[in-house]
């Protein structure tokens, strides 16, 4: 296998983008990534696109071809493939691009993610997202997606010492980071009070425990490490790419409060990268809900089971803490255009490793990690990146 590097990244501003269509979004992100890698379109060999539900959100399928076409690739006939794993679609698209380059099949490959969620009524987007879980035996019984994570939170709080305030601190911290990220959907800081007094969605989760509905796209370009310096002075090496799966339904899990797929993918990634937890300078985890970040930092091994609440309240996951988590603002504050999220996580880590993260820069960052979850943990992708 060949070593793989990220040579270019691009991302749209995330938010409710009434003026931008699905096509506008991915063309913008792709152009930014190409420009960043000083590439022209003729040099692209293949594309992988993460997208969860264009069929429900804009009634459009056949996304691979659509994107290749509007990216100006139709006459070059390059392979373009849509990858779907609910909220982990982006992470898996990135992994497919890495595999394509590592195998030697392709050289210059685009991994993109896009979701246009605000062209439908909120009821329809909520329902589409429920398809990330088991439609027949969870969704149909009246379980909403926030409701499933709320059941994780309820189980967790019954067994471990996590207070409602500690849980709220996840959102407060992510909004603080989002306020320092120019692409974030929400760029204002919030207080514990904002979270604690927000509308109840699914007990114990309130509105500010939940990631928002977002439009956005992100794109990154990968190439063989040995060729990377043709395109950039700051290539970022992919040290590990791991993917794991688990039961589609939450009720079938070994342990409601542990995402075993996160544990597995995390362990594989650490082994593959030959690095230890103390080597990781910052991690982007999948905080679709506040409780998901609590579980993620434990499942990835950054603290012991049951201790993430105190760890968060003590500031260990904040900028300047022991392990800064979600410097981008995470899904909560940066936004969660479902299929784009996994690619945006790579975008953030690459910016950090290049020293281009502005007010949220982690000084001297050398190694970073991404963690992207599909559904309630039925798919997890973990990647580790390093400066070269």
């Amino acid at each position: 296998m060949r070593d793989v590097a990220v040579i270019g990244v691009g991302c749209t501003r995330f938010g409710e983008k009434w003026e931008s269509s699905f096509r506008d979004l991915f063309v913008e992100a792709g152009a930014l990534a190409l420009e960043d890698a000083r590439l022209s379109g003729e040099q692209i060999d293949a594309m992988y696109v993460g997208n969860m539900s264009a069929g429900r959100f804009i009634e459009q399928e056949h996304i691979g071809a659509l994107i290749a076409d509007y990216a100006g690739m139709a006459t070059r006939h390059i392979p373009s493939t849509r990858v779907e794993a609910a909220c982990a679609s982006g992470g898996l698209a990135f992994r497919q691009a890495v595999i394509a380059v590592a195998s030697g099949m392709e050289d210059i490959v685009v991994a993109a993610g896009v979701e246009k969620m605000t062209d439908v009524e909120p009821g329809i987007s909520t329902d589409a997202l429920t398809g990330a879980a088991d439609r027949e035996w969870e969704g149909f019984m009246g379980a909403t997606f926030p409701g499933l994570y709320a059941m994780i939170a309820q189980d967790y709080m019954h067994r471990y010492p996590l207070t409602r305030e500690q849980l709220a601190q996840v959102a407060v911290k992510n909004h603080y980071n989002g306020a320092r990220n120019p692409i974030a959907q929400f760029q204002s800081e919030i207080t514990l009070d904002t979270v604690m007094k927000s509308t109840m969605v699914a007990d114990p989760l309130r509105l500010f425990d939940c990631s928002p509905i977002t439009d956005g796209a992100a794109a990154v370009i990968v190439a063989p490490l040995e060729r990377a310096r043709e395109f950039t002075d700051t290539p970022i090496k992919v040290l590990a790419s791991a993917q794991a799966s688990d039961t589609i339904a939450l009720h079938d899990r070994r342990d409601i409060s542990t995402l075993d797929a996160s544990v597995a993918a995390g362990q594989w990634a650490f082994k593959m990268a030959k690095v230890a937890h103390k080597d990781i300078d910052m991690v982007e985890v999948h905080d679709c809900f506040s409780i998901a970040e609590i579980c993620a930092i434990e499942d990835l091994g950054f603290c012991k089971k049951g201790e993430a609440g105190k760890f968060t309240a003590d500031g260990e996951t904040a900028l300047g803490g022991k392990i800064p988590v979600n410097t981008s603002g995470g899904l909560k504050a940066c936004g969660h255009p479902v299929g784009a999220t996994g690619i945006k996580q790579v975008f953030e880590i690459v910016q950090q490793l290049r020293g281009e993260a502005g007010k949220r820069q982690i000084d001297g960052a050398k190694i970073g990690m991404t963690h992207n979850v599909g559904g309630t943990g039925a798919t997890v992708a973990v990647h580790i990146f390093g400066r070269v």
Binding site: M141, G142, T144, A150, I152, H158, A202, D252, I256
Partner: protein, 130 residues
């Protein structure tokens, strides 16, 4: 949910008809036709669940999708059936009544209605055991 999609699982939805593997004795609800433990050595047969179980975890849903909006606030839970499997279901009780570890039993209830002219979906919910 389309009529055919709902209709084909009526025995399972109305009567908690699941399956079990005769090779290892593991029970499945929702039903599986392939035992993940015994794989091809498994022998799957139908099994009607007794309908009693325990609340493992729960939430009170305040914001629901359209079909369930009229029920809010309602209780959803993961219930561990006495035979072993865990299922996602609704518990018919006051939101402040539900507790982890609470004993519950199955009841036949309306789950959702497919619009004003669509079919009514019935199925199994649970109620607290007095």
């Amino acid at each position: 949910m389309s009529v055919a999609r709902f209709w084909r699982k009526i025995p399972q939805r109305y009567n908690l008809l699941g399956t079990k593997c005769e090779t290892c004795g593991r029970h499945f609800f929702p039903p599986r036709t392939f035992c993940p433990d015994c794989r091809r050595a498994g022998k799957i047969v139908d099994h009607k669940f007794a309908g009693s179980g325990t609340v493992v975890t729960y939430s009170v849903i305040h914001t629901a999708s359209e079909q369930y909006e009229a029920l809010t606030p309602y209780v959803i839970a993961i219930v561990k059936l006495d035979e072993g499997p865990q299922i996602t279901t609704q518990v018919v009780c006051r939101p402040d009544q539900v507790k982890i570890g609470m004993k519950v039993k199955s009841v036949f209830r309306r789950i959702a209605t497919d619009g004003k002219s669509g079919i009514i979906h019935y199925g199994t919910k649970f109620v607290p055991v007095e």
